[in-house]
Symmetry: C2
Subunit: 345 residues, 2 copies
DNA sequence: TTGTATGCGTTATCAT
DNA sequence: ATGATAACGCATACAA
């Protein structure tokens, strides 16, 4: 009874296996890590014991001696944003396929929180990190460099950056879309953006709109930009503001699909029809873009690929296999019903 | 040069701190874990050294001696499903607030994969687990019991289960909605469900529809049920099948919002208008339910609360604080435009 | 092929 | 208040 209780309470160790199988702990260890370096007969015997008593290597001990945990950390703004949820799912799947486990934390789009999470995940044994975007303080960046922490930046792309980035050029992608909008004849455009502070993706997208405007002869600096956090309600609120202006825009460019859909709802609620009264565009191409009526013109972003490739990059980084470096995964404009030429003029 | 390089490569240990501060390793350890048990002067000195050389406790060594990692694992079907993404986000936030870190894996709705992930996360040092639903083999259940692995089941509720569950009664919730539908006069109803194999939530919801039907005098067994994986396209495909039947249903009850929205799109694409020609209901109340036109009648589920309460339950379990046990978080029917009485009759 | 012995970095139990 | 020291469980260099 006492023995049985003990069996349940105390997890078995290599010692237990060794004793039971009549071999040394070294042999047990080898059976697990290098089965081929052990005699057929003994291996069978040891494996049987392992199975019988339900032995599993102690994680802490293993990490202590191996100096790695095969665990990778990801810090994303929030999983509630479908683009990150999707990318993270692909990231996890690819890690799992390669024997790595995923540690997750979220920054809520707050740099100081991200910094804390970086330290936390590393303290929790993460071998490497996935971070979103380039916007972070020089302090933490230097800290990461000093400690030689392997990490990649995703959802952004800058081939001149000193650390690998996996994503796409937000500025260029948005400029391409804005060019389409302006090319259709829209000359009063407005932008609904996520807060740009601490968010280089949003900032780059807004910059992309101005690039296209300047290029096509519009007054880039005069384009109104409303910044508001990610949510349908906020998209709607921003649209309401824009429609209250004297020079109502004929096209509203949003930095993500959620804001765009919120904006569309509000425009319709205020009696405007889309796209005949006002055009709206999004960014990301999440499922909702095809569910709304009219369907949303947006920029398709390969979220799953970013997650997958980020995982591969990190694994390569850890394995010292030849560095894959930066990966530009590209984007594609999806022209749909929410964008059309302005009515008169 | 060599020394500096060494500094960068080798992470500093308690030994380094102790030497530099002229104290023993025990004192350094105390400074970190029980600052009050150390003299003011020495603590200041030690802390300064820690700061200076950038010391951080080694995770493996700590886990080895403490026999816990303050890490909790979650295995969910997929983060791409917004309901889990949202719940997981809240789960992570609550864990973070309490000093725990989150390890994530996904089962893709496949029991055998879930089983593997359970073993993996435990092998990776997870102190406790969050699992979704009750549907899993007796083998793994027994295994968990034997090892005394603390875990909770979420997104389901069964107060008679031997382990804590945090969620709601899927069957009862769906029965309540179905009662509303049938009460409105619909007597030809159909169900679009996720695959019920290995998914007790889906199964319970379908059962709920039959409960209500039987209760209100409809032939419960004759209600057509189409099972198809979670996606808009599949929801649309299922609706297409249903509309091809001779006795076309007047109301289609879907076990989640995504299938429902897909079904709505298809119905409309086939020239039917909602709800006058056909009613549709969903389950979950994710954002898309209010974006679609007409808005979707559905069952509101407190996803964030489930994540948060699950975390609290797990933490309580680990802390031996009085067991909170089961938590029924309840649901609410959200009546919206997609449901109306059938036209004639 | 297998065994012996040692170190990995921390924490905790004793002393002092 | 502080120090010496023994685990913790595993992997590996070295012996046999």
């Amino acid at each position: 009874m006492t023995r049985e209780a003990k069996h349940l309470r105390q997890a078995p160790t290599v010692q237990d296996v060794a004793r039971e199988a009549g071999v040394s702990t070294a042999t047990v260890s080898r059976c697990i890590n290098f089965p081929e370096k052990v005699g057929e007969a003994t291996r069978q015997r040891v494996m049987k014991v392992i199975e019988d008593i339900g032995y599993a290597p102690n994680f802490g001990a293993r990490a202590l001696v191996a100096k790695r945990t095969n665990t990778i950390g990801a810090i994303i703004p929030t999983m509630e944003n479908a683009i990150f949820a999707r990318g993270l799912q692909a990231f996890q799947e690819e890690l799992g396929r390669n024997g790595f486990t995923l540690l997750v934390a979220s920054s809520s789009y707050r740099p100081e929180l991200e910094e804390r999470q970086i330290r936390t995940l590393l303290a929790r044994g993460a071998d490497a990190l996935l971070l979103i975007g380039f916007d972070r303080g020089p302090g933490i960046t230097e800290w990461l460099r000093e400690r030689r922490v392997p990490y990649v930046v995703a959802w952004a792309f800058d081939s001149s950056a000193p650390i690998p980035s996996v994503g796409f050029d937000n500025r260029r992608a948005m400029a391409a879309l804005a060019r389409e909008v302006i090319g259709l004849g829209h000359n009063r455009i407005a932008v609904i953006s996520a807060p740009t502070a601490g968010n280089d993706r949003a900032r780059d997208r807004v910059a992309g709109v101005r690039d296209a405007a300047a290029e096509l002869g519009l007054a880039a600096e005069e384009i109104p930009v409303i910044e508001t956090p990610y949510s349908f309600e906020n998209g709607a609120g921003a649209m309401e503001q824009l429609l209250g202006r004297t020079d109502r825009p004929t096209a509203v460019i949003c930095v993500n699909d959620v804001l765009a859909v919120g904006a569309m709802s509000k425009a319709r609620a205020m009696g405007l029809s889309i796209p005949s009264d006002i055009s709206v565009t999004g960014f990301d191409d999440i499922e909702i873009a095809r569910v709304i009526d009219p369907e949303l013109t947006t920029v398709h972003v390969p979220h799953r690929d970013m997650g997958r490739v980020s995982a591969q990059t990190l694994i390569a980084l850890l394995g010292e296999t030849d560095l894959p470096g930066h990966r530009d995964l590209g984007t594609e404009i999806r022209m749909r019903g929410s964008l059309a030429p302005p009515r008169h003029r």
